[in-house]
């Protein structure tokens, strides 16, 4: 009985642990090993502990790295600015019936695959499309301007594609918001603005942090949006990795660059969590009870 009780936690960890080993650690091992190989496609790539692959993979790619940080950062901020009011409206203001409908609308795009949705934007934003005409008419873009094959299109695509990942966690944290706390704040002479800043926002912080992570991490590694909506000057680091792997068959450098990208994201995320505070990330001690 005692032994069994002690084994149960391990048993519960088992499936997840095996999953992690098979689909995370093992591929990481192969990727790390690949990153240290050298050779050419015709001769084959042999393990020679070629550490130079790491600096080589960054060589001349500063522009793409900066662009990746800019695009994914901008998309995350935009998604947050769009998602928060929306999530707030759904969770706090909407009637239960509307809430269901609105939530469904947020998730509905997922019924079509990511790739098709992005290609769809290509048609919607084509140079001769009515939308571009309207933007030209409003002087938001120059008369001979375009939307496709610009940085704006890629950032918009990233924002659009990852928006639900921002909305849902924020919604989840706002939905649990105890409205009587807001009433209490008002009773204590807080203005609506103060009540929002001192009560609502801090209580929804875990949702914001989770949403930012869920948006930023995939956006940073994305290459589909830049590939389909971008032009010659919009390549992100994901596009470089794809090109190294698929077109140049330079697997070692592709693996090295992937590793460095993962490291960069990891560092950015750790800094962010540190900045946001673990409390915002995990919820406070009391809240977890």
């Amino acid at each position: 009985m005692n032994l069994r009780r002690r084994l149960i936690p391990y048993g519960l960890l088992g499936p997840g642990g095996i999953w992690l080993i098979l689909f995370f650690l093992l591929p990481m091992y192969f990727m790390g090993e690949m990153a240290l190989r050298s050779g050419s496609l015709t001769e084959g790539y042999n393990l020679t502990w070629e550490w130079a692959n790491f600096p080589d993979s960054l060589d001349g790619r500063g522009e793409q790295i900066a662009r990746t940080a800019l695009y994914s950062g901008a998309a995350t901020v935009l998604a947050l600015l769009i998602a928060y009011p929306l999530a707030y409206a759904i969770a706090v203001r909407a009637s239960p019936r509307w809430r269901l409908l609105l939530l469904f609308s947020v998730i509905a795009p997922f019924f079509t695959t990511y790739l098709i949705r992005t290609i769809g934007w290509k048609t919607i934003l084509a140079d001769s499309s009515p939308i571009v005409d309207v933007l030209q008419f409003l002087a938001l873009i120059p008369d001979d301007g375009r939307v496709l094959a610009t940085s704006g299109a890629v950032i918009a695509g990233l924002t659009y594609n990852f928006l639900p990942f921002m909305i849902l966690p924020i919604y989840a944290s706002l939905e649990r918001l105890d409205l009587s706390l807001l009433e209490a704040a008002k009773d204590l002479y807080a203005s609506s603005r103060q009540a929002f800043l001192k009560v609502t926002l801090p209580l929804s912080a875990p949702g914001i942090v989770a949403g930012v992570l869920l948006t930023f991490i995939p956006a940073f590694g994305d290459y589909i949006n830049a590939e389909i909506l971008g032009g010659t000057n919009q390549a992100m680091i994901g596009n470089k990795i794809q090109s190294l792997y698929l077109e140049e068959s330079n697997y070692p450098e592709a693996a090295a660059l992937s590793f460095l990208m993962m490291a960069a994201v990891l560092i950015a995320v750790l800094l962010y969590i540190r900045l946001a505070g673990t409390e915002a990330f995990m919820g406070s001690e009391e809240e977890r009870g």
């Binding site: 088992g14 093992l26 192969f30 084959g44 790539y45 094959a149 919009q234 090109s243 698929l246 077109e247």
Partner: protein, 379 residues
């Protein structure tokens, strides 16, 4: 429960062990073992072709359906080749393991077929098995077959020319590759992501003689293309999907292949041979290693070389046909087709055109040029 877990852990340990043992193995490189000869036999079962978009009529009355009807084979015709390099990159890990992803026949450009053959990724033909094809092959395709003159592992599917597709209502004055660099068309020009298509055209627009071109000439042209890409002059580098930008009107001029009118589907977009000349090339049919149904593949090759079948294909795709006797058949159907320079270009039409050029030098030089171009087109 515990035994299952134990089993899983044991499997995992083996997997890890294998990974560790395997780390000395070479990844990539030529496949070991003898080159296989594609086996002939009874033609039946399922048959999968990988080809470029718009390269045959896949409809109910098309050539694929005719092949199915005649042989009873069920054909899966997939258009998943958008460019040689990406297709190769996608397929290579499979081919390295002796698999083709169930593909029985692939259509790639001649230089790519040669590269795949060098790596041991293609099966060879027994000449008796493709006799119809060898008998009907047009002579001008024989002399051009520098990569595989004896058709040991590849045989032409269609030939074509690389030039400029021009939207005549918006950019009618474009006649030269140099016009594509005119700031007037900034952001409305696309070029092909294949180094052998785009770079020689730009080199010749710069007045370089392809016969004596050096690696530096290639790199200089790539540099010029790179600058145009950085400035936003070139909208995109594309594979066969350049046709989409022409259809939607995003591009007013694109470097492209002579037979894609059907894919573009616009009357005001026409193919032009640049004043400096064009590139001549041909795509070939080849049987990859691991092809499950080589008998059907061989039969399909012979089928495509029957003049009547080829006439249907030529009429549909309007590329340069590699089969003798097609001109007569098409002439009877519609005299205009027999005179179409895109299907039957005469010597005068192609006077300034040259066959696909390979970057000069050894394999390392070629790789240097290819990588330089890849860096430019991947932004």
């Amino acid at each position: 429960m515990l035994t299952k877990l134990g089993l899983a852990v044991a499997c995992l340990a083996t997997a890890l062990g294998m990974a560790a043992c395997g780390s000395d193995d070479t990844v990539g490189g030529a496949r070991e073992g003898d080159v296989q000869v594609a086996e002939s036999g009874p033609v039946e079962g399922e048959f999968t072709v990988s080809s470029w978009p718009g390269y045959i009529d896949p409809g109910k009355d098309g050539s694929v359906a005719e092949f199915e009807e005649r042989t009873g084979v069920s054909v899966k015709y997939i258009e998943d080749v958008n460019s040689n390099v990406t297709f190769f990159g996608k397929l290579r890990p499979l081919l390295d393991q002796g698999k083709s992803g169930d593909r029985d026949l692939i259509v790639v450009t001649d230089w790519m077929a040669a590269r795949m053959h060098d790596l041991g990724y293609l099966q060879e033909f027994n000449p008796d098995d493709i006799q119809t094809a060898l008998d009907n092959l047009a002579p001008q395709f024989e002399s051009e077959g520098a990569y595989d003159p004896d058709h040991k592992f590849s045989i032409p599917w269609q030939g074509g020319m690389t030039g400029i597709w021009v939207n005549t209502s918006e950019a009618d004055e474009i006649t030269s590759i140099n016009d594509l660099f005119d700031p007037k068309y900034k952001g409305r020009v696309t070029m092909l992501d294949e180094v052998r298509d785009t770079v020689p055209l730009v080199m010749r627009a710069d007045g370089v003689d392809m016969e004596s071109a050096t690696k530096e000439d290639w790199l200089a042209a790539i540099d010029r293309i790179g600058k145009a890409a950085d400035s936003g002059q070139i909208r995109r580098f594309t594979g066969n999907d350049y046709t989409e930008d022409l259809t939607s009107g995003n591009a007013v001029a694109s470097i492209g292949w002579s037979g894609d009118a059907y894919l573009i589907g616009r009357d005001d977009v026409e193919w032009r041979r640049p004043v400096e000349g064009c590139n001549l090339w041909f795509d070939t049919m080849a049987i990859p290693v691991g092809a499950p149904n080589t008998a059907a593949a061989l039969e399909f090759i012979n089928f495509a070389y029957e003049p009547k079948v080829q006439a249907d294909i030529a009429e549909f795709v309007t590329y340069v046909t590699p089969v003798e006797g097609v001109k007569e058949i098409l002439g009877k159907r519609d005299p205009k087709l027999a005179k179409d320079p895109l299907i039957f270009p005469d010597a005068e039409f192609t006077a300034d055109c040259v066959p696909f050029s390979e970057p000069p030098g050894d394999a390392a030089d070629v790789a240097e040029v290819e990588e330089a171009y890849q860096e430019v087109i991947s932004g």
